[in-house]
């Protein structure tokens, strides 16, 4: 980079102005060039509200559809259609879910609700479990995991159930795009590796 004296016409500049311009010159040198924006970023988002949607694991569409239908059928069978309608109203005010994922297993179902990421970078989640067996062992528990290629990879929180319906709130800081689904595992006392899967998306 040429020197300030080479680059700027200083005629008529008073000392104060020249000092400020020299400071700008130094900052430009220090900052370096701004990057070229890629085409994908040239225009502002036209519908920023859509960006509010949670980007959650990209399940294959067919698998997602089958899972949703299966889970919905199980929920209806277990609780009747009135449950869903009545319950949805109360839940809407208690947890600002942007996305709901059904989970299913043997006679058990769950709804995993995802809220937008908070200011600290955490994704609040609410997991409502129905018909999951209670644990006779007081030290046993269940654990929610994010999966990659179907394998439990990232722990999302542990919990116990003691009723036909149990609702727990969890929060994780992960980038969901790195994963492909969730599972709930049954964890024996003292075992920290993923146990048998009891619910899956």
């Amino acid at each position: 980079v040429s020197t300030f004296d080479d680059m700027v016409d200083r005629e008529g500049l008073d000392a104060g102005d020249e000092a400020r311009l020299r400071r700008v010159h130094d900052l430009l040198v220090q900052a370096g060039p701004p990057p070229d924006l890629p085409p994908s970023l040239e225009h502002p988002p036209t519908a920023p509200a859509e960006a509010d949607l949670v980007q959650f694991p990209l399940l294959p569409r067919r698998r997602w559809t089958l899972g949703a239908v299966a889970a919905a059928a199980l929920v209806v069978l277990a609780f009747g259609g009135g449950y869903l309608v009545g319950h949805a109203k109360t839940k809407a005010t208690s947890f600002a879910a942007k996305r709901v994922l059904p989970m299913h297993g043997n006679n058990a179902v769950a709804l995993l609700r995802l809220a937008p990421k908070d200011g600290a970078g955490n994704w609040p989640m609410e997991l409502e479990l129905n018909n999951l067996p209670t644990q006779p062992d007081p030290r046993a528990y269940y654990e929610l995991w994010l999966t990659r290629n179907g394998k439990a990879i990232a722990p999302c929180g542990t919990f116990r159930v003691n009723a036909r319906t149990t609702t727990v709130r969890l929060s994780v800081p992960y980038d969901f795009k790195r994963f492909d689904g969730w599972v709930v595992t049954r964890q024996a006392a003292g075992k920290h590796d993923p146990g048998p899967v009891v619910l899956t998306t």
């Binding site: 700027v8 400020r20 311009l21 900052l27 220090q30 509010d52 992960y174």
Partner: protein
């Protein structure tokens, strides 16, 4: 005196759902955010994702901005920093060189200071006219001498120097207290 809408005013308007204010913020900050993300992540694809995430966060959390706590640029920097740190963490990296806040106090390293300086300068460049930006880019980052810039633009050398001075003066006005 510059009669432009401040960043803080745009954030407050965006908090009320004003899309045009959000778009103005994007025009001012897309390049600084992308530059910061590129410097930290070193990957254009992930930097693009970080920019998208940053502006989604701005839209979501604009209501949390408190003008009495300071101007908009440091708040925007903090939001961008969080989005970029998220990206870095997703690859198991420890994002150490991006400061938690855009404090005026000297940073723990030259790299920290470098990021904040680039953020402010690149933001200020967005307010120059196309012609002013062109002469600054050629003079500072093209590797051309002033005579070569004059030849490239087909204008006299004196005009190059005059335009450079005018651009620096405008940047000085935009950067304001940041020059202290």
């Amino acid at each position: 005196m510059r009669l432009v809408t401040t960043d803080g005013e745009l954030i407050e308007r965006a908090a009320t759902g004003d899309h045009s204010a959000f778009e103005d913020l994007y025009r001012r900050y897309a390049r600084p955010v992308f530059g910061l993300a590129l410097r930290r992540l070193g990957d254009r694809g992930r930097a693009e994702d970080a920019v998208q995430e940053t502006f989604a966060s701005i839209w979501r959390s604009a209501a949390s901005y408190r003008p009495e706590r300071g101007p908009g640029a440091p708040w925007l920097y903090a939001v961008a920093r969080n989005a970029i740190v998220d990206r870095a963490r997703s690859r198991g990296e420890i994002p150490s060189e991006i400061p938690d806040t855009a404090a005026d106090a000297p940073g723990p390293s030259d790299r920290v200071e470098q990021g904040w300086v680039a953020w402010r300068v690149h933001r200020a460049l967005e307010e120059l006219t196309e012609r002013e930006r062109e002469v600054v880019a050629l003079a500072y980052w093209s590797g051309l001498s002033q005579s070569e810039v004059a030849e490239f633009l087909s204008i006299p050398l004196g005009t190059v120097k005059t335009r450079t001075r005018a651009a620096l003066a405008k940047l000085s006005e935009i950067l304001g207290d940041d020059l202290q």
